[in-house]
């Protein structure tokens, strides 16, 4: 048993202070404001009564729930066939699906939204062709439909990833036992495979629900204002940070996030279905017959085409001279890229700086918290872990509002409010992405046997040197994975940023995109910027993947 050294206590105190100031305080302030009377500070529910009395807010709440639920439904419809075909059958395209299926995640959904308008909107390519050939149009992008369409295409990988993982984790013997007892085909799938995969599915589905519920930029860009997140944003930006409604909506957003996660945890409680045991090794893959293969390729091709349509649309748009009321652009040009590199390179530079700093803060905090939790006996060390993870349930918008409220009044020596400093954007991004990095670091450290450290200490290295010379080098892969996850998601994050960016010169890429995309003339350069963002994130993800592979091989595949 190890006692806590003064260094460890100091590290824990520092982390606790950081989390308290930049996570607990802002969120707590939002809660406090929502539940107190303006001016007096007395506890009141009047703000909530107002919320539920206002027809617009109730409709927005209902719309947000409806859009999130329908997005889950459609995302499931996209993910289910892909997951089943790739995990249950010997399907040649499995690698393709696994790669292309995750592409949506590397682009902010609101970027795709504009391209989707051009492809699927009332006068978009698809509807123009439909009208010409068949004489009717489909309202893919009308009102809430558009949000649902864009969001389900964007977030379905969360369901695909989780569902595929849990399908793969089902012990082959589970299925064979059912066959041995006389079950087969769809019946076996319904009675055994599906229930066993349910926890993974629910985890993915609840994530999609929460993400869609919290997303601000997509409905704004599609000009859908009667949803909760846009309402909160509009209240704060148009009426001001003193208006209680923004805070009430924030509380509703947090409650919905926590509620969805809690429900999915409840539904899967006591069902630890990771059933693979030694000698197990996943479900048997069935060979496809010729007809089935054609059907599978058809379905997969159609889904992938749909999933990649925002990317294709964006690419077309970025090279288009004029694209309106036509299935394809009128002409092509590289002028948009020239313009983006000419006048908007600050966006790109800012993004690289912000996302790198946020990623660095995250892996330092993540490693430190993982170390304190796993390797020390510090009192209440789990609280650090729980608090950091709680950021998962805080929508970026809420964090942004909290930062404005808490730090706007703090004056810097130059008279500038603290909240408007670009470093606040970095901190908000770091807090938002900390859970991802923490889990990666935690997992990496868990795999290191404590005896490796004990051996170093036994040979004369103190704790700090052991950490530096043994633990951190062994964790490289995990730390890097954490950094890249934080970096690449922070690079395209908008909801907190939208609240905190005060001037164009401080704005990151996602914000620039948003500004461009709001005007018809800005769409071309916006698309070019979007393509750059996608390439940036894709390159980082690929690099991380390669490094992780090398790291894995270097350790002999045992880690």
């Amino acid at each position: 048993m190890r006692g806590a050294t003064p260094g460890q206590v100091a590290a824990a105190a520092l982390i606790a202070a950081f989390l308290a100031v930049f996570l607990v305080l802002p969120v707590g302030t939002v809660m406090y404001v929502a539940f107190t009377e303006k001016g007096t500070g007395a506890f009141t529910l009047v703000n909530f009564a107002d919320f539920f009395r206002t027809e617009l807010f109730v409709r927005s709440l209902w719309n947000s729930v409806y859009v999130s639920a329908m997005s889950v439904v459609w995302a499931s419809a996209l993910a289910l066939p892909l997951a089943i075909v790739t995990t249950r059958f010997a399907f040649r395209g499995a690698a393709l699906v696994q790669t292309l299926g995750f592409l949506p995640l590397i682009m902010p959904p609101f970027v795709g939204a504009v391209a989707m308008q051009l492809l699927f909107g009332r006068n978009g390519s698809v509807n123009l062709l439909l009208d010409e050939w068949l004489g009717f149009k489909v309202p893919f992008m009308e009102g809430l439909n558009g949000v649902i369409f864009v969001q389900s295409l964007h977030y379905f990988p969360f369901i695909l990833i989780n569902l595929s993982a849990s399908l793969r984790n089902i012990d082959r013997a589970m299925e064979e036992a059912a066959q041995n007892l006389g079950s087969s085909g769809l019946r076996l799938f319904r009675r055994i495979v599906l229930p066993l995969a349910m926890p993974g599915y629910l985890a993915g589905a609840s994530l999609v629900f929460v993400k869609v519920f919290d997303d601000l930029a997509t409905p704004l860009l599609l000009n859908v204002k009667d949803m909760l997140a846009p309402q909160a944003y509009l209240r704060v930006t148009s009426i001001g940070i003193a208006d209680p409604m923004g805070y009430v909506i924030s509380v509703v957003l947090v409650v919905a996030s926590v509620g969805a996660m809690w429900l999915s945890a409840l539904a899967t409680r006591g069902r630890d279905f990771s059933t693979t045991q030694r000698g197990g090794g996943g479900l048997a893959r069935r060979q496809l017959s010729r007809g089935e293969a054609v059907l599978a390729w058809g379905a997969v091709g159609l889904i992938l085409l749909l999933v990649l349509s925002p990317h294709l649309g964006l690419l077309l748009l970025s090279f288009a001279t004029v694209w309106s009321f036509a299935p394809l652009p009128d002409g092509y040009t590289t002028a948009h890229y020239a313009r983006v590199f000419g006048e908007s390179s600050t966006y790109i530079a800012n993004t690289l700086v912000y996302a790198s700093l946020a990623g660095a803060i995250d892996v330092v905090l993540g490693t430190a918290i993982a170390y304190l939790v796993l390797r020390t006996r510090l009192v209440a060390r789990e609280w650090l872990d729980w608090t950091a993870m709680a950021a998962l349930a805080i929508p970026g918008l809420v964090l942004g509002i909290g930062y404005l409220r808490c730090f706007y009044g703090v004056q810097l020596p130059g008279g500038q409010p603290l909240a408007t400093l670009w470093i606040m954007i970095v901190l908000a991004l770091a807090i938002r992405r900390l859970p991802y990095a923490l889990r990666a670091c935690h997992a990496a450290m868990q795999q290191i046997s404590a005896s490796l450290e004990e051996a170093a200490e036994n040979l004369g290295a103190d704790k700090a040197r052991t950490l530096r010379r043994v633990v951190v080098p062994l964790m490289t892969g995990g730390i890097l994975a954490g950094f890249v996850t934080s970096f690449s998601t922070a690079a395209v994050e908008l909801s907190a940023t939208l609240m905190l960016v005060q001037s164009n010169s401080d704005a990151p890429l996602a914000y620039g995109l948003y500004v461009f995309m709001q005007s018809a003339a800005g769409r071309g350069p916006g698309a070019a910027l979007g393509v750059i963002a996608v390439l940036l994130v894709a390159a980082c993800t690929l690099a991380a993947h390669l490094v992780a592979e090398r790291d894995h091989r270097r350790k002999g595949g045992s880690a």
Binding site: A173, M174, A177, A178, T275, R278
Partner: protein, 352 residues
């Protein structure tokens, strides 16, 4: 229910270039408790899965009760299998697990419940039907797996390493219970194991397998006393094996170290045979002068309680000899010379 025999004839099975089973033929009599015994990777589990329909033979037939089942899918075979991992479905209660096969057979609800009760009663778990598998101990889970399989009253019962996930103490108890259950049901049963003790203690007959080939089939005593080859002799119990060759027109076997043992008239000595004998079939004595028999130097001595195991170096070879221990016996010390006398009939000459 009348018991069905199993007959496996000329089965070959390859995965790519590796041949898992080679010309396997085994006859299991109705009602028999039969073991597939061998080291890991010998093909015993594959052979079991072949009977259950989870592996396909390239050649050969599998019959149960005189009917060729080689072309039936697993769910039409009616051969009950208890999986090594038990494969209990975690999302179903014990009762629902046991009822599964009966429901798949579309039996009336009342009949299903009656047979579930009976199966759980049989394995002594009647009170735990509403638990989830995760709430049971390893031994209880194993009994649920057995109950789930016998509930459908299969023609034959296949047990894949059923004791491997239990702790040592429980294993002895559970293997007896399995034997009792099998006797009461009178069901033809195949038991896959790598543990010779398990196979010896409860099985009627054993097929010893190695590298996809059936080495020998027989009762535990036959296999131990009359192993067909070096592999069987070495796998069941411990055996001394000395290289050498026939001299004097085949009447004497001379070991590499120069020791000579008479070959009884009429004994078949295969090519590249070794002299094989069990440690307890040899006795140590004072060194004789003729130096033609076996003799050597004590290099190890292990006191095992009922016996003392001596390691005797004979030239390049080292053999083990077990001497029974009675209180007051004087033991040979390391470094002492001793002669080794084989009991009549103990010397075997076996090829690979």
């Amino acid at each position: 229910m009348t018991a069905a025999g199993i007959s496996i004839r000329g089965v070959d099975l390859s995965y790519g270039p590796s041949r898992i089973l080679r010309d396997v033929s085994i006859e299991v009599a109705p009602g028999e408790l039969f073991a597939f015994l061998g080291p890991s990777g010998c093909g015993k589990t594959t052979l079991l899965r072949l009977i259950a329909g989870f592996a396909q033979a390239d050649r050969g037939t599998v019959e149960v009760g005189g009917r060729d089942i080689g072309r039936l899918p697993p769910w039409k075979r009616d051969v009950g299998m208890v999986f090594q991992s038990y494969a209990l479905w975690p999302h179903m209660s014990v009762r629902r697990n046991v009822a599964f096969g009966l429901e798949e057979r579309r039996l009336p609800r009342a009949e299903v419940e009656r047979r579930v009760d009976a199966a759980l009663e049989r394995v002594g778990l009647a009170a735990l039907g509403d638990r989830k598998p995760s709430q049971l101990s390893g031994g209880q889970q194993q009994r649920v797996a057995v109950a789930r399989t016998i509930a459908i009253e299969p023609k034959v019962l296949l047990l894949d390493e059923p004791l491997s996930n239990l702790d040592a103490k429980l294993r002895v108890q559970v293997r007896r219970e399995l034997r009792d259950l099998q006797q009461r049901l009178g069901i033809t049963t195949i038991f896959v194991t790598h543990d010779q003790e398990e196979a010896n203690t409860i099985c009627d007959r054993i097929a010893v397998m190695n590298e996809g080939v059936v080495q020998q089939v027989g009762t535990p005593i036959e296999l131990y006393a009359r192993p067909a080859n070096l592999f069987v002799a070495g796998f069941l119990g411990s055996a001394n094996m000395l290289e050498g060759g026939l001299v004097e027109g085949g009447r004497v076997f001379q070991t590499r170290g120069g020791a000579r043992v008479d070959v009884p008239a009429g004994t078949f000595v295969p090519a590249s045979a070794k002299l094989v004998f069990r440690p307890q079939d040899a006795a140590l004595g004072p060194v004789r002068d003729d130096a033609l028999g076996l003799s050597g130097v004590v290099v190890h001595r292990e006191f095992l309680g009922a016996t003392v195991r001596y390691g005797i170096a004979m030239g390049a070879d080292e053999i083990a000899v077990d001497a029974p221990f009675r209180s007051g016996d004087a033991l040979l010390d390391v470094g002492a010379r001793a002669s080794v006398t084989l009991a009549p009939g103990a010397a075997l000459f076996l090829g690979p």
